[in-house]
């Protein structure tokens, strides 16, 4: 994830954020005819809220959180959106561990609400979004910090034995244990460092694709 | 002592309840009364009218065969199929009307919401069981019949507890 654009610029001028995240040339052409969902254009970047409303009216507190992360990690992270009570940060897979540690130790986020995996076949990537929240810090009780990171996607996945891997955050946030197991079986993202990468919800003899990938088709749909 | 008091209070509460009224709806003999004639939808205001979401009722003279109910159902239960009807209606050139398979229907009522012509209602009839799967498929002619329902039991609350009358 080499995003060279200014964080501030990204925030205020969302149209610039497009080129930063995914490969721009591919995007218009990604929609393959057989794909029901065309390539995910932009997963997280929320252009709408910022531009439609007045630009300086970004919520100050949330922006402060975002600034702190940018300040610490600089180019390694990108702000995908800042909305009331919600901050979205994009991190490369190598830095996700450090950013999460920073979020826990300095920003006081103490648990993970949910871990969502999103498949982007056009980008050949799978995004894993951690929704961080806090019980202990009363100022953060409304806040959700979305940490998004991306793993490489393989066409013929062998869950656990291919390049679709991410570092596990379990040693930082204990609460991700079952969520990461779920993401592993539903999308095939192997979490390195997770102590218990077993099946959770799917049957033991499931041999098909991980079901939440976009190329896994529901019957009759 | 606290333990003994607690045990005595529990026993006392149990014995007291022997004198309360029974709160059981004895179903085949008593049937619960519902609000209104069933769930309906007013397309002009875009708001439904409260009522039980039971089996549907189709007004043949309103149905235009537009298939909107069928399309709505496709995303939910795939229970509605459009079939040919023998009669001719001037608003229904294609002579197709919905046929509902109650083996699949989930009674969400989104087909009623989808109907722009006030042709599909839901009624208070919920006793749809049948000995065969075919018996659960209601043709347009069957759907046009208004069901006879006798439902009169209501929850009554008195000093001696609530009961179904």
């Amino acid at each position: 994830m080499s995003s060279d654009s200014e964080k501030e610029a990204v925030e205020k001028k969302p149209e610039e954020s497009k080129p930063t995240e995914t490969k721009p040339p591919e995007k218009p052409a990604t929609a393959k005819p057989d794909e029901q969902k065309p390539a995910a254009t932009k997963p997280a970047p929320a252009k709408k809220p910022a531009p439609t409303k007045e630009e300086p009216e970004l919520p100050a507190f949330e922006k402060g959180i975002a600034d702190k992360i940018i300040e610490k990690f600089g180019e390694k992270t990108t702000i995908s959106f800042v909305k009331p009570d919600r901050v979205g940060i994009k991190v490369g897979r190598d830095d996700i561990h450090n950013v999460a540690e920073f979020a826990r130790d300095t920003l006081n986020y103490d648990h993970v609400d949910s871990v969502a995996g999103v498949d982007y076949p056009a980008d050949k990537e799978i995004e894993v979004v951690y929704h961080l929240s806090s019980y202990t810090d009363p100022t953060l009780s409304r806040q959700i910090l979305e940490l998004a990171t991306r793993a490489q996607r393989e066409e013929d996945p062998i869950p656990g034995n291919d390049a679709t891997k991410l570092p596990s955050l379990r040693d930082i946030f204990y609460s991700v244990e079952f969520h990461e197991r779920e993401v592993f079986e539903m999308l095939g993202v192997y979490f390195e460092g997770h102590p218990d990468n077993r099946r959770l919800l799917l049957p033991e003899d499931w041999a098909d694709l991980p079901p939440l990938r976009k190329d896994f088709r529901n019957k009759g749909r | 002592m606290g333990t003994a008091t607690g045990i005595i209070r529990a026993l006392n509460s149990g014995i007291k309840h022997i004198a309360l009224k029974r709160f059981t709806l004895r179903y085949p003999e008593e049937k619960l009364k519902f609000v209104g004639d069933g769930y309906q939808f007013d397309p002009s205001t875009g708001v439904g009218i409260a009522g039980l979401k039971g089996r549907h009722m189709l007004f043949h003279d309103h149905c235009t065969g537009c298939q909107l109910c069928s399309i709505a159902c496709e995303g939910v239960a795939e229970a509605i199929g459009m079939v040919k009807v023998p009669e001719e209606w001037k608003q229904n050139k294609k002579s197709i009307m919905p046929q509902i398979d109650y083996g699949k229907c989930v009674f969400c009522g989104l087909c009623v919401d989808a109907c722009p012509f006030y042709a599909l209602y839901m009624t208070n009839d919920y006793e749809l069981s049948s000995f065969s799967k075919e018996g659960l498929i209601y043709t347009p002619a069957q759907l046009a019949v208004k069901p006879e329902v006798a439902q009169d039991s209501e929850i009554q609350i008195s000093a001696r507890g609530a009961t179904h009358g």
């Binding site: - | 045990i7 529990a10 509460s13 149990g14 014995i15 309840h17 029974r22 709160f23 004895r26 507890g161």
Partner: protein, 432 residues
């Protein structure tokens, strides 16, 4: 239609019943009746009403009802009648069946439900019969690796042990199946059998959940047997006898519960535990160990265990009545018999019916039975009530309760009895 589940056909069901009835009748008529005649021919028959009972006479009651009366009277004087009918099995089974019905209806009332309602028109009074029919027509499944003889024997042994318990209970003066001098010790001996049967059946099923249930039954017995035994020692000290009939007779003026309330409470709690009723139903704790030691029982085997359980419930309630509530003692409420009924019989339309039981049943006995039944039903009500209001307890709580609290209370009860005795209030020289 499901592939696996067999189709139930009423015609086949009825046919199977009719087949069995047919074969039974055939075998009975061809073998049974000749055998009976054969045996009767070689037996010295007793003299009844100055008339020697011959095999012919013994079978004429089929044709002539008036002849059946002396035979019935003779029969009622036998032990067989006591065992099978009145103070024994039939009476207890009747009360047990009534208990099941009352339990279901009372619990339903407590829980604001209706309970059995449709079977038998009147508030589901025939529900038990329906359940019995259902159970008897269900397939008996025995686990493949089970120890079959033990597994088959367990339900029957359970009922039989409960019946042996019933045999020790005096219902009315002189009406007891086995009037033992050490009746109370015999009761303890019989009670000791139940956990053994439980463990044997649990072990024989070769399944984990029954096994744990059996072990729990063992612990339950272990922790409650001693308080049970000790809580009754107070009564024995005050009466100086172990004979249950004598204990009952000693309470003609007042029941022991007045002097030994602590013993009564301890005995009641241990009784609940021995019965595996709700606060202590650990061996059958369904949310922890599916159905405990009953998990592998199916069909009539389960039904027999239930029958045994309720027989046991009746026996324990009756034991409580006998030991603490004065048994059959009570004011005379049964109307006295007119002399002519006993001697001449009752004019009922064209025939004069001589009531068969009356020379056997005396007024005292009927009165005693009424009081006994009333008290027993009262105790049964209080045995059933905790099921509605208490949750189940845990094994360690159970052991704690049994070994620390109840044993202590039982000793307190013994000292109360000793104190009453030595203070001269009761016992020889006291007001007794």
């Amino acid at each position: 239609m499901s592939v696996i589940a067999p189709n139930f056909k009423l015609s086949e069901f009825i046919k199977s019943i009719l087949d069995n009835v047919f074969w039974f009748l055939l075998i009975f008529t061809l073998i049974g009746i000749p055998a009976v005649m054969f045996i009767l021919f070689y037996i010295e028959m007793p003299v009844i009403d100055g008339e020697l009972l011959t095999p012919f006479l013994a079978l004429t009651w089929l044709a002539d009802p008036s002849r059946s009366i002396p035979i019935l009277k003779a029969f009622m004087a036998t032990d067989l009648f006591r065992i099978a009918a009145f103070p024994g099995f039939g009476f207890a089974a009747l009360l047990a069946a009534g208990t099941i019905f009352v339990e279901r209806k009372m619990l339903a009332k407590l829980q604001l439900r209706v309970g059995p309602f449709y079977c038998g028109k009147v508030e589901g009074i025939l529900q038990l019969m329906g359940d019995g029919l259902k159970l008897i027509s269900k397939e008996i499944i025995i686990p493949a690796k089970a120890d079959k003889p033990l597994f088959w024997a367990a339900p029957v042994l359970f009922v039989a042990t409960a019946a042996a318990f019933v045999a020790l209970i005096p219902v009315a003066p002189g009406w007891v199946v086995a009037d033992l001098d050490v009746g109370l010790l015999a009761v303890f001996a019989v009670i000791g059998f139940f956990p053994i049967i439980t463990i044997l059946s649990a072990w024989s099923a070769n399944s984990k959940f029954p096994f744990i249930g059996g072990i729990r039954a063992l612990y339950q017995m272990v922790s409650f047997e001693i308080p049970l035994i000790l809580s009754l020692l107070g009564v024995v000290i005050l009466t100086g006898t172990l004979n249950l009939s004598e204990i009952t007779a000693s309470q003609s003026s007042f029941p022991w519960i007045i002097f030994l309330p602590i013993g009564a409470i301890v005995f009641f709690i241990t009784m609940l535990a021995e019965l595996e009723r709700i606060p202590f139903d650990l061996p059958e704790a369904e949310s922890e160990i599916v159905a405990g030691w009953l998990t592998e029982f199916s069909g009539m085997m389960y039904g027999l265990v239930q029958l045994g359980t309720y027989l046991k419930l009746y026996s324990f309630a009756a034991l409580f009545v006998v030991l603490f509530l004065g048994g059959w003692n009570g004011p005379m409420i049964w109307p006295p018999f007119p002399e002519e009924i006993i001697t001449e019989g009752i004019e009922l339309g064209p025939v004069t019916a001589q009531f068969p039981g009356l020379p056997v049943f005396s007024q005292e006995m009927l009165n005693g039975t009424i009081w006994f039944v009333l008290k027993t039903v009262g105790v049964i009500f209080f045995i059933l009530l905790p099921r509605g209001v208490f949750p189940r307890i845990r094994v360690d709580m159970l052991l704690d309760l049994g070994w620390k609290k109840l044993i202590g209370l039982a000793f307190v009860n013994i000292f109360i009895a000793l104190g009453l005795l030595y203070a001269g209030i009761l016992g020889p020289g006291g007001i007794l």
